[in-house]
């Protein structure tokens, strides 16, 4: 997990009926049924499902038509263009369809360390005959190691293809001669009686040859269909589907009669072969012998093996990897099909024609410890009150009313007590910076009420009292409130008492994650295409509202202050598994040290739960209205 604190926003697409009607809503219900505590609609950040709906604000989009957050799961991606990440040349989609999704220029990455290879003039002293090699500038792997060098420094892909094919074709040429016509290739058993058995074909064909045969086979199929070039028409698709069903089930479909495939009977059909196997030419003993000779350094690592299409076992079989193409994509809302993101089609530009990101529509939350010196995020003291500052920043040009709601105790086995001291407040509009300067000039230091002022003027700033029902601080388009949490005491693993059931204490139990429901209300001018409304004088106002769950990852619960330090060692196993190693500062272990910031009495928190805070805030709001 990333360093604390983290802020994620839950995309409601999970239970949005408009997107994925039956399936997801049904599956959504299931966990609620299991866990009755969840039925009060509290978002449980610990549940397995929530992991998939939580995103940082930066990754969220916003659909203006649906007035809804859109996450990567509820948008459609459409490819605008393909380009090679190395040479940054755009690749037309027709080329992608014919040549595959790899760069066909000179872009290769190292099979050893995956850095990009460069074409270098070979050393005169080296044994290679041709003057150019592909050389990795990082690990010095070179194509000379697998016996490949190039005559010219351009069109390496074509040269490489020629060089890789030739030696492999040589031994198999005798058996391949029976496949003289490329059209009758991949299903040889069906073609004629003179073809060798599948087993012998398999041993003599390299994966590239098999692929080429398969490709020509499909090309013939497409040619037979005679319609569109890429086989995307329904007719061509059904032909392809029919191809599988007929070869596998032996049904008497009449497609592809030119190849005689349809004439075969169930008995003659070829067996299903898995071609991704270890090359069958090596039996075990030769493999072991080879391993013995090349040693550990001669074998490939799993990463090196997986990334290659032919999964080589030895480094001598590695090949330069042609660069995978990347795409620029536009994104559509799944519900209303409107475009949310549309990048400019030029490869090198980073501009967007359309960019509806959630950042510009919903307020951003930021959180930090009120007193960062008192305690570290990685070792919050159990049963101690910690204060955090939650800042809500408004990106809109209208002031917003924010209501924060949070369960008093977070869901999960070890609930953290949470109190938002001022759950209802206003955040000013994201107006011009100059407005703030003008406003602050005439600002009055009003009473420390929670909510005051509107339209970006006479905002009271910097009271920092931390009393219940008042905001901590506020600026032009941001407001900060205090959140208090009391982390639970997590029993030491293997301890006697309250380890409920037999479940082990996981790292997740130690992380304080607080679900906060953010409700935003604001009035905005109605956007009208026609200029009539603009002419009619007063612009029409529309009330809008967003509600979403946000999860604040506040930190990790450390060891309880007073207890013997040896007790903590039991949990070290689970600690070690965490990427962010807890670095408990000794100072944070003292129980008696008040973690309260300046001016924050603990009693201000003690008596008033969240309800009280809300009541105060409500009272304040009432006062303002009156």
């Amino acid at each position: 997990m990333a360093p604390f604190p983290t802020i994620h926003i839950s995309c409601p697409c999970n239970d949005s009926i408009s997107i994925a009607p039956s399936k997801s809503s049904a599956s959504r219900k299931a966990p609620e049924h299991d866990d009755p505590e969840e039925s009060d609609m509290t978002f449980d950040p610990g549940s397995a499902r929530s992991n998939f709906s939580l995103f940082p604000l930066e990754n969220l989009l916003y659909c203006e038509d649906c007035n809804q957050i859109r996450c990567p799961r509820c948008v459609h991606d459409e490819i605008v263009c393909y380009f090679c990440p190395n040479c940054l040349f755009e690749v037309p989609s027709s080329t992608v369809k014919t040549e595959g999704n790899r760069c066909t220029r000179n872009c290769f990455s190292c099979p050893i360390c995956f850095a990009s290879l460069s074409v270098t003039a070979a050393d005169e002293s080296s044994t290679s005959t041709s003057p150019y090699i592909l050389l990795c500038p990082h690990c010095f792997w070179s194509s000379a190691e697998i016996g490949i060098s190039f005559e010219k420094p351009t069109s390496i892909t074509a040269q490489l293809a020629a060089k890789l094919k030739l030696p492999s074709l040589q031994p198999s040429s005798s058996s391949a001669s029976s496949f003289s016509t490329p059209t009758e290739s991949y299903f040889p058993a069906s073609a004629s009686s003179t073809t060798p058995t599948i087993a012998s074909v398999e041993t003599t064909l390299t994966p590239e040859e098999m692929y080429a045969r398969l490709k020509t086979h499909y090309a013939t199929q497409r040619a037979g269909s005679g319609t569109d070039e890429f086989g995307t028409s329904p007719g061509a698709l059904s032909r392809l589907m029919g191809l599988y069903s007929s070869t596998l089930s032996g049904s008497k479909r009449t497609f592809g009669t030119s190849l005689g495939v349809g004439k075969q009977t169930a008995k003659q059909k070829p067996d299903w072969h898995e071609y991704e196997h270890v090359q069958p030419t090596h039996d075990e003993s030769t493999l072991i012998n080879k391993m013995r000779t090349v040693g550990f350094t001669g074998t490939t690592s799993s990463q090196q093996r997986i990334i290659q299409p032919h999964h080589p076992l030895f480094t001598s079989q590695l090949r330069p990897l042609a660069a995978l193409l990347r795409t620029k994509r536009s994104k559509r809302c799944r519900a209303c099909r409107h475009i949310l993101v549309k990048p400019e089609s030029k490869v090198t530009t980073t501009r967007f024609r359309i960019k509806l990101v959630a950042m510009n529509y919903i307020p951003a939350l930021t959180i930090s410890l009120l007193d960062p010196t008192s305690v570290s995020y990685h070792s919050l003291t159990p049963l101690n009150t910690h204060q955090f500052l939650l800042t809500v920043t408004n990106p809109l040009f209208d002031p917003i009313n924010v209501t924060l709601a949070t369960p008093q105790r977070t869901p999960g086995r070890f609930p953290t007590e949470v109190t938002i001291l001022c759950p209802d407040f206003e955040v000013g509009a994201n107006t011009d910076v100059w407005d703030e300067a003008l406003a602050s000039a005439g600002a009055t230091s009003g009473a420390p009420t929670g909510v005051q002022g509107s339209q970006g003027k006479s905002r009271r700033t910097g009271k920092k009292t931390g009393n219940t029902g008042t905001v901590w601080d506020a600026g032009r388009n941001w407001t900060t409130v205090v959140i208090e949490i009391v982390p639970p005491l997590i029993p030491v693993e293997g301890g006697d008492s309250d380890a409920e059931g037999e479940k082990k204490i996981t790292e997740l139990d130690r992380i304080v994650q607080i679900p906060v429901c953010v409700r935003v209300e604001y009035e905005t001018e109605l956007e009208r295409e026609d200029s009539l409304s603009a002419l009619s004088g007063r612009e029409q106002k529309e009330k809008r509202e967003h509600t979403y769950w946000s999860v604040l990852g506040l930190g990790r619960i450390g060891k309880f202050g007073g207890v013997k330090s040896s007790e903590g060692s039991d949990t070290l196993g689970s600690m070690d598994s965490m990427p962010t190693r807890p670095m408990g500062r000794p100072s944070s272990y003292s129980v008696n040290k008040p973690s309260a910031g300046p001016g924050l009495g603990v009693d201000a928190f003690g008596a008033s739960g969240m309800g009280a805070a809300a009541a105060v805030a409500a009272a304040v709001r009432g006062g303002r209205k009156a």
Partner: protein, 181 residues
């Protein structure tokens, strides 16, 4: 802003043995009590630090010692850097020996008394432990992986290096005489 000279506060000048064709930048720092030998056509960038407090330092021909490097002799046996060695920025070399044609890249640390073979490449931020022996033609790459360089480009690299030295000779004003007194 011209770099201010901080050399004056350094400890006493070590005895040096410079070939006439070397380039030592004004702000390079040579410290220690043992002899520092630098052979022909070697370039010491500004703010490289050579310390011979514990033993002599010998640097071969056509070497480039970049800025912010620390070349320290580990003990009285001293440190020998072969011909055609490049020591890049932020590298710390406390080896006994760095073989001919080896490239010590950015931020590499070579531990005390290590012996690095010929034509090795130590990729950026890699480490060589104390007293470790790295055989010839080894490439340290990635997060500490090793392999044998079989590309046969050592000769070409050496040629490029010599050209590099030639260009630096124009760019870096040498003040070798400062140390030779």
């Amino acid at each position: 802003m011209p770099p201010r000279s901080r050399i004056s506060v350094e400890v006493a000048k070590p005895p040096v043995d410079f070939a006439p064709s070397i380039v030592v930048a004004e702000t390079a720092s040579l410290a220690g009590t043992h002899r520092i030998r630098i052979a022909a056509n070697t370039v010491i960038h500004p703010r490289a630090k050579l310390n011979s407090a514990l033993g002599p330092i010998t640097i071969g021909r056509h070497c480039i010692i970049s800025e912010r490097t620390q070349i320290t002799a580990p003990d009285s046996q001293g440190l020998t850097i072969g011909d055609g060695v490049v020591v890049e920025v932020n590298a710390v070399v406390e080896a006994r020996e760095v073989g001919e044609g080896t490239a010590v890249e950015v931020g590499v640390r070579i531990g005390k008394g290590a012996v690095v073979g010929k034509n090795c490449k130590l990729s950026p931020l890699t480490r060589v432990a104390d007293a470790e022996v790295i055989p010839d033609n080894t490439v340290l790459y990635g997060a500490g992986e090793r392999r044998v360089d079989a590309s046969g480009t050592a000769g070409a690299r050496r040629k490029l290096l010599e050209r590099h030295v030639d260009s630096l000779r124009v760019l870096i004003p040498s003040n070798a005489s400062k140390w030779m007194s």
